[in-house]
């Protein structure tokens, strides 16, 4: 429960100008929370405790308040994950168009189930809910980018780019 007394590694933003710019866009500090979290995650890969502390200090609130926010959103990761995140949409239109087979395909290919990461840390597989691209189902979000109307073959080509 108590901290073990070890000093925590301190997180600092690599691009303080961007931080300044973010703050300048909002009438209050707290509104900068989400953009700062996005920025920190793109730098660190996930939201560590030191990121939480650092952002809490910047936006002038308690770390627990930032954590309350972070834990609500699916795009913020509080633990490290693989270098590439394969997010397969599983909601109705994608499901009707073969999303489940894509999940099975990744599981067969890399021996990872949804939520797992390959041993070499190359891929993390996630099943996600509607990505808002139902007209081009099935859709997979590879890291930040959408890949639409995927077939097994197109999916393999995509995965190969990241192997």
């Amino acid at each position: 429960m108590k901290s073990n007394g070890k000093p925590k590694p301190r997180f600092t933003f690599e691009d303080p100008e961007r931080v300044e710019q973010i703050f300048s866009q909002y009438p209050d500090k707290k509104s900068a929370t989400l953009p700062l979290l996005h920025l920190a995650q793109s730098q660190e890969g996930y939201i560590s405790n030191s990121v939480i502390d650092s952002i809490a200090e910047l936006v002038d609130c308690h770390p627990a308040v930032v954590m309350d926010c972070v834990s609500f959103y699916t795009m913020f990761y509080t633990k490290p994950h693989g270098r590439n995140i394969i997010q397969i949409c599983q909601t109705l239109s994608c499901s009707l168009n073969g999303a489940d087979e894509l999940v099975d395909h990744v599981t067969d290919k890399y021996k990872i189930k949804p939520g797992e990461t390959t041993a070499d840390d190359q891929f993390t597989l996630m099943k996600v809910e509607c990505l808002g691209s139902c007209g081009t189902a099935p859709v997979v979000q590879m890291n930040k980018e959408y890949h639409e109307s995927l077939t097994k073959q197109k999916f393999d080509e995509l995965l190969a780019e990241f192997e």
Partner: protein
């Protein structure tokens, strides 16, 4: 038979349609020039007269909403562009952002001008990274050309637009959940009153409008309220982007007048069902709407009032088509699971009820069905979101409409395809 010419998507197939120079070449920002010479109240009146209703899902009159902004308030006013498109079956705002971002931006500036706002936000869903990057360019172009910033187009009016990315939460599409999220908090919807128009972002008067709604505004200004009202049914007129997905040959976004027939949309625009399979059921207005059976779907006009009469709703106009091979219990579970995953957890019925539905449906599918399960599914759905029929009960059991959004589709699955659900119940033993 189809004399309608697309309004919002007229140019989306053209090269560089997202750029400022292209948009200007088709008359872009002339509506803004006109608006900047008008009294803001007249702009609001014009929009009110057009009968434009929100394209996000609730279908509330846009002009009327603006009218709720208190005239005597000294606080800043905010316009938020709701680009948190997340309703399953809906993908039109993403198209508009990609293909006609300046049209949307022009609409934003018009709306901001009308309500006296000088800082406006685009709340874009976090997953839309590509669109976010594109909108950054759009906004930079606008600043470079005096379309945003100080003294827009030489007028006395100034406006800044900021893009704010969400981070993965369906509920942030609900306007008060969105405001909480914009303020740097979890997206727990707010209890009303107060309404956002009175106390919204940072307790200031705030209007939240959808991408498609805002994109209509330049056209209303340019061509007039009466032109807009002449398209489709008078109570809810205008062009509408219908998204069709699921079991169809040619899924996509189709711009049609309000009141177009669902049958035409599915079988004409979307090219019908692959392999000539039979139509089984349709979500007419996103996954929050009650499904229609094939028979119902063949005989319905896509109009606010008519869909309510049919026990469903137009919602976000996201049409999901299910063919005869689709297992309705699986489909119901798929939708229930979506809502359980997206429930914010604030109110009791939704937090507990959505997962209860998922557990029950999963048990049914895994062969653990028990007598009475069907009635229970009805009751749980009703207890989360209430009945559509007032005489039989009430709705509004949760702070935001999420409760209804899960209850209505689930109830409609069980009600309209009861037989399929029954198959998962233990067969009654015949007493010898």
């Amino acid at each position: 038979m189809n004399t309608f010419k697309p309004v919002l998507t007229e140019h989306i197939d053209q090269k560089d349609c997202h750029t400022l120079s292209f948009y200007k070449s088709i008359g872009g920002y002339t509506a803004l020039e006109k608006v900047l010479t008008m009294n803001p109240d007249h702009v609001t009146q014009e929009v009110k007269d057009s009968n434009l209703r929100g394209r996000g899902g609730a279908g509330f009159s846009t002009g009327m909403k603006w009218g709720f902004i208190p005239k005597d308030s000294n606080k800043p006013k905010y316009l938020i562009n709701n680009a948190d498109e997340s309703e399953p079956g809906t993908f039109k705002d993403r198209l508009l952002m990609n293909k006609a971002p300046h049209q949307m931006l022009e609409g934003m500036i018009i709306a901001a001008y009308a309500i006296g706002c000088h800082t406006s936000f685009i709340y874009i869903r976090g997953e839309f990274y590509q669109e976010y990057k594109l909108l950054e360019q759009t906004i930079a172009e606008a600043y470079d050309n005096n379309i945003l910033g100080q003294n827009i187009l030489g007028s006395n009016y100034s406006l800044d637009v900021v893009i704010h990315r969400g981070a993965g939460a369906y509920i942030c599409g609900e306007e008060t959940g969105l405001l909480e999220s914009l303020e740097g908090k979890r997206g727990w919807p707010r209890i009303k009153p107060p309404f956002p128009a009175i106390e919204g972002y940072l307790q200031s008067p705030t209007i939240v409008n959808n991408v498609e709604t805002l994109s209509c505004l330049p056209h209303i200004i340019n061509r007039g309220a009466s032109w807009f009202k002449s398209i489709g049914p008078e109570k809810g007129p205008g062009p509408r982007l219908f998204c069709i997905s699921g079991s169809v040959n040619n899924p996509g976004v189709f711009e049609e007048p309000m009141g177009v027939s669902l049958k035409d949309l599915i079988f004409d625009r979307a090219g019908g069902i692959p392999d000539d399979k039979q139509l089984k059921a349709v979500f007419p207005g996103g996954s929050s709407s009650a499904i229609l059976t094939a028979n119902e779907a063949m005989d319905v006009m896509m109009d606010f009032e008519e869909l309510v009469e049919k026990g469903s709703m137009l919602g976000s106009a996201g049409i999901i088509v299910m063919d005869e091979t689709v297992n309705m219990v699986q489909a119901c579970l798929n939708i229930a699971r979506f809502y359980a995953h997206e429930s914010c957890g604030q109110c009791t019925p939704c937090r507990e009820g959505t997962s209860w539905l998922v557990m029950m449906l999963t048990r049914l599918i895994n062969g653990g069905g028990k007598p009475g399960d069907i009635d229970m599914l009805f009751e749980i759905a009703d207890n989360i979101g209430g009945l559509i029929d007032f005489s039989k009960g009430s709705f509004g059991k949760t702070i935001c409409p999420f409760g209804e959004a899960v209850a209505w589709p689930v109830r409609s699955f069980v009600e309209k395809f009861k037989g399929e659900f029954m198959e998962y119940l233990p067969q009654e033993k015949v007493v010898a």
